[in-house]
């Protein structure tokens, strides 16, 4: 197909630059143009060629589509077929796009907000730096451990060691003030404390100890503690660090904690 140029003249009928559709080349010419939603028919005749101000004659077309077509025909009677036909085509197109505009304004319009490149780049860079400064993994881990310490999880996780230590130390302080053999107690306590940390993953021992704490008085505590120390010594030697490593190795141990509880009592009864 042959490429055609566009005509820049605003009164052009078809928009293409041809000899037949140039408003400057033809002395008898007509166009349809719209202004503020109303369509007008513009006409140019030879008689007014000398008066540029009155050259283009303007006729308002009615809003009714068929009536407007009749008006075009009426005004351009005896004019060449080409111009009449093209005027009507142009008028049709214009009315169609006016209808579309009216429909679209009723719907929600999408507002385009231009992005500023400099600002975008700045924000992205700041985001990266903030991400690095945030150290999210550490922050989350710290927060979770905090919550564990403050006992928000209740009894689900069975190693609240620090709480035990504090409780023990309090009770030890009480028994020290009362009984004579302070050093033995302290030694036992120290040993107990150490061993407890060593085998921290084991639940039942701690729970047993807890029960014993509640039941016994201070003097009996010493004996109990010594016994516990011996038991724990034997336990710790036999078991070593394996119970800790077992669960810690697996990454998705959903059922793990329950598993420990099942095995613990059996081994304890054997040693006892």
């Amino acid at each position: 197909t042959k490429t055609q140029n566009f005509c820049r003249n605003e009164y052009n009928l078809t928009g293409l630059c041809n000899r037949s559709s140039c408003p400057l080349a033809n002395s008898q010419y007509a166009t349809v143009r719209e202004e503020k939603g109303r369509c007008y028919l513009y006409m140019k005749t030879i008689e007014r060629a000398a008066f540029p101000r009155r050259l283009w004659e303007r006729v308002l077309l009615s809003k009714n589509y068929e009536k407007a077509l009749e008006e075009i025909d009426e005004n351009l009677i005896y004019w060449p077929r080409f111009i009449r036909h093209k005027c009507k085509q142009r008028f049709t197109k214009i009315t169609q796009y006016l209808i579309r505009i009216r429909k679209l304004t009723l719907k929600r319009q999408r507002k385009l907000v231009p992005l500023r490149r400099k600002i975008e780049r700045r924000e992205n860079r700041r985001e990266e730096k903030a991400l690095i400064a945030a150290q999210l993994d550490n922050a989350i881990e710290k927060e979770l451990l905090e919550r564990l310490k403050q006992d928000t999880y209740g009894d689900i996780y069975n190693f609240p060691i620090h709480a035990f230590d504090k409780a023990l130390q309090q009770q030890d302080a009480e028994s020290e003030s009362e009984s004579d053999a302070e050093r033995e107690e302290e030694d036992d306590d120290d040993e107990d404390v150490d061993k407890r940390e060593f085998v921290e993953a084991e639940d039942s021992e701690l729970s047993d100890f807890e029960d014993m704490d509640k039941l016994e008085t201070s003097s009996e505590e010493e004996q109990e503690e010594e016994e516990e120390a011996e038991k724990k010594a034997s336990h710790s030697k036999s078991k070593g660090k394996t119970p800790l490593k077992g669960p810690a190795r697996r990454k998705r141990p959903y059922i793990e904690i329950e598993y420990e509880e099942e095995t613990e009592p059996s081994t304890k009864t054997k040693a006892a």
Binding site: E127, A130, L136, I140, H162
Partner: protein, 324 residues
């Protein structure tokens, strides 16, 4: 010529002879016209600088050790968080006024456990694949949430319907060029509306992890670093998305971490390996939000009353001033 850079010729530890030739003449490295030679000389000069710096450090360390206990305490490096301009609206934990406000604002029924959150997630018109998938994943993260597609419906008309059907929150994800880039979070029975800019969205398959999908358990919520009044209200908005009773069996945690006005959202599953160690594994989508505006009522672009808008000219002037 003379001593161009004085102290260096005394540095007798450099064996290659050209080192000493470099510095006495007063030309700087940038005056050599030949690019290759200039580059070479520049590298040499850089090595020299590095050596000097290392020597200085060593000297300082030795001095410090020699002083022992009398040494001055180590200087704390300045960070942006350290140097942050003090914001007068920072919330003091014991502030009564704040506590009173929070007891009577729109989230009070939620925090008094009177309402259970029910969330509606939707997008702008014609969402593309990535946004759709992101919406689905978000729906799995937030318990009690539903995704509805918007086929050209106006938000103003959706909102009364949502209120009628007992939804408590509305999330609209705005999309641009096939990626989600904006988030509007609106608390429904006449609550505040926050408009965020969303960036670096990663879907579940793009995150490097080997876990499974999030389960139906209610996750815990961590809100970090929301210090000012504005940050506090935004934090409460986020907290109001999740039901109040987290199921610890699920061991899932959703984190909103605010750092320098960027809110990072992550969703993890945790396991306590020991008393002092916790392992976390990331599942679920991740994204970052930056607050653009906070409106008092529900979403209304024309007549809404804005509580806070980000004004670039005024608010972005200082690098150490943050609002959240």
């Amino acid at each position: 010529a003379g001593d161009g850079s004085g102290p260096v010729p005394g540095d007798g530890t450099d064996p290659p002879a050209p080192e000493r030739v470099l510095f006495p003449p007063t030309f700087s490295v940038s005056e050599i016209k030949n690019k290759q030679r200039r580059h070479f000389m520049f590298l040499r000069w850089k090595q020299q600088q590095r050596k000097e710096k290392l020597a200085l450090k060593k000297k300082r360390r030795k001095e410090r050790e020699a002083l022992g206990d009398k040494a001055p305490p180590k200087a704390i490096p300045k960070t942006i968080e350290n140097q942050r301009v003090y914001d007068e609206t920072t919330v003091d934990p014991n502030d009564e006024e704040v506590a009173f406000d929070e007891a009577t604002d729109e989230f009070a029924p939620y925090f008094n456990r009177q309402t259970v959150p029910k969330i509606l997630i939707t997008t702008s018109d014609r969402p593309r694949g990535r946004t759709v998938r992101f919406c689905e994943q978000l729906a799995t993260v937030l318990p009690n949430s539903h995704v509805y597609y918007r086929r050209g419906l106006a938000l103003k008309r959706i909102i009364p319907q949502c209120i009628a059907r007992d939804f408590t929150d509305l999330i609209v994800i705005n999309e641009d060029r096939k990626i989600p880039n904006g988030l509007v979070l609106s608390h429904l029975p006449d609550g505040p509306t926050a408009h965020f800019r969303m960036s670096s969205v990663r879907l579940r398959k793009e995150i490097k992890r080997k876990g499974k999908e999030p389960t139906e358990h209610v996750p815990e919520v961590i809100l970090n670093n929301f210090t000012t009044r504005l940050g506090h209200s935004i934090g409460r908005m986020f907290a109001a998305l999740f039901p109040h009773d987290p199921q610890f069996i699920g061991r899932q945690v959703a984190t909103f971490h605010n750092q320098r006005d960027y809110i990072f959202f992550r969703f993890h599953r945790y396991i306590f390996k020991s008393e002092k160690k916790v392992g976390i594994q990331e599942l679920g989508p991740r994204f970052t939000l930056k607050l653009r505006s906070l409106q008092k009522g529900t979403f209304d672009s024309k007549f809404g009353e804005y509580e806070w808008i980000h004004k670039r000219r005024e608010m972005d002037t200082s690098r150490r001033k943050f609002h959240l």
